[in-house]
């Protein structure tokens, strides 16, 4: 009885370590391919940087309110994300390499590896484009910790929702890049609205807004957790199609 339980425990821990190994293998593979091609960096990060520069150039001399700035930041982040986050799954299908993963790895570990990569990518994009945005369009009473929390929680939600829609879009026969924003925006709309409302608090520093923004950070975290859980549950059903 006791030894049975021990054996079962050992086999679950073996499965768990195998799962982690697969997930990290997929993640490092993505990273290695990315370092060689620089595709995602040039598509997503460069997109964000160029849009930030573009926006600030167009608005030169105009007095832009804090809430408008908050909306601009998130619109830029969202469009940048949707310009390249789909690659993790679309590239596998188009290059005909997805079967390697299907034949060898547990589905959820594949999703975990891809999600991790997209999280890292969103992190880099935020690290580059948001400071640049604040440099070109300064905010006087910036709430740094609040902004960082919003970017962390919002970025996590953005990455998990966009990674799952990427897994769906990879099955489409044609027009993947046009369809990706179409199916992602409805899912990301609540995230965008909450994130903008919170960022207003971080930019205008009005006490009531700051209070509301900290609440929003919690909701953004909840969004990230719920969407990640749903992704993992549903991914098993769409991967082997």
């Amino acid at each position: 009885m006791k030894s049975d339980a021990g054996a079962a425990g050992a086999s679950t821990s073996a499965t768990a370590s195998r799962w982690l190994d697969c997930a990290s293998a997929v993640f490092t593979k993505e990273l290695r391919v990315e370092l060689r091609t620089r595709y995602a960096l040039s598509a997503v990060a460069l997109f964000a940087v160029i849009t930030v520069i573009m926006v600030s150039a167009v608005l030169v001399g105009a007095s832009v309110r804090a809430d408008v700035k908050a909306a601009l930041v998130w619109i830029i982040l969202l469009f940048a994300a949707l310009s390249g986050l789909s690659r993790v799954f679309v590239r596998e299908e188009e290059a005909g390499t997805a079967a390697i993963l299907r034949l060898t790895a547990p589905p959820s570990s594949v999703f975990a590896g891809k999600l991790l990569f997209n999280l890292a990518l969103i992190g880099v994009v935020e690290l580059v484009s948001v400071p640049l945005f604040l440099l070109l369009m300064p905010v006087e009473k910036l709430q740094l910790w609040l902004l960082l929390s919003i970017l962390t929680a919002g970025g996590a939600g953005l990455a998990s929702a966009a990674t799952f829609t990427a897994a769906l879009i990879a099955h489409a026969a044609s027009g993947k890049s046009a369809l990706y924003p179409i199916i992602s925006f409805p899912v990301l709309m609540p995230l965008a609205l909450i994130a903008v409302q919170a960022t207003v608090g971080a930019f205008d520093a009005i006490p009531i807004h700051i209070l509301r923004a900290w609440n929003d950070v919690g909701v953004l975290g909840a969004y990230a957790i719920v969407m990640t859980t749903a992704s993992f549950l549903l991914f098993e059903y769409v991967w082997h199609e």
Binding site: L168, I182, P186, P190, L193, A222, V226, A230
Partner: protein, 264 residues
């Protein structure tokens, strides 16, 4: 509205007469009381226009009668969305193509009823508050749902393989529906920002008795229209599936498509 229903109804009667011989054993086979439904819809439409008194509490009392169409549409659309979600989950578990048909047909109807809700709501809002749109919680949720269903059909049409279409569509409809509640957190509800009154149809003092009768009769009528169209459409697709299966079975019987040989 009722005129449209009438013409659809007479067209479908022809279809129904051929299947009328089926004994009414289970619910899905029950013969639909279409004549009663037609009378009910006519009655609510006539009552809505002629019998209901103008609602004095509104800025445009005459036009306030539109609520007896607007509210039932939104309720039926919600039911249709719920059915879509239910059969999407069921499809992923059972992989039965009929579950996919049920989910997809319900999604089509729910898109139709959400559009009707949006149009009647916008007309009402313009008349009462002077604006077609102002992003309160219910309007926001409707726009989100319209976007979700439009994206759902765009996604499905981009996938060639039918089983893939069904699985990916089901997964998307579930995933997208999960995010809707987050919108209700951020958009205003029951503040001075919102146009929609709260608790009007659920509380006693919200509506006058005449309004309450016509409104709930409308809910009943439109729900039955939804159930009826949904069942007809599902039955039609079921026949299509069966025909395709029979055709391929006949072909399979002629040739099994392979031969196993053993030499040496």
């Amino acid at each position: 509205m009722s005129g449209m229903n009438k013409s659809v109804q007479s067209k479908n009667r022809v279809v129904d007469s051929s299947t009328a011989a089926i004994p009414p054993i289970n619910f899905t086979q029950l013969r639909f009381p279409k004549v009663l439904l037609l009378l009910l819809l006519c009655a609510t439409t006539v009552a809505g226009f002629l019998w209901l008194p103008p609602a004095v509490a509104f800025r445009n009392p005459g036009l306030a009668r539109i609520v007896v169409f607007h509210v039932p549409c939104s309720i039926v659309a919600s039911i249709a969305s719920g059915v879509t979600l239910w059969y999407a989950i069921s499809y992923l578990i059972t992989r039965s193509s009929m579950d996919d048909v049920k989910s997809r047909v319900s999604a089509e109807l729910s898109l139709l009823f959400w559009v009707l809700t949006t149009v009647t709501g916008a007309v009402f809002a313009k008349a009462q508050w002077g604006t077609y749109w102002n992003w309160d919680i219910k309007q926001g949720a409707i726009v989100l749902l319209l976007m979700i269903y439009a994206a759902y059909f765009a996604l499905r049409s981009a996938i060639i393989d039918e089983r893939k279409q069904a699985a990916i569509g089901a997964a998307y409809s579930i995933f997208a529906t999960i995010c809707v509640p987050f919108l209700t957190y951020v958009l205003p509800n029951s503040t001075e920002d919102t146009l929609h009154p709260k608790g009007t149809i659920t509380t006693k003092e919200g509506l006058s008795p005449e309004y309450r009768i016509v409104l709930w009769a409308g809910v009943l009528g439109l729900t039955l229209v939804y159930v009826w169209v949904w069942r007809q459409h599902v039955a039609l697709d079921e026949i299509r599936l069966k025909l395709a299966a029979r055709r391929s079975a006949r072909r399979a019987a002629r040739t099994s498509g392979f031969v196993v040989t053993e030499t040496e």
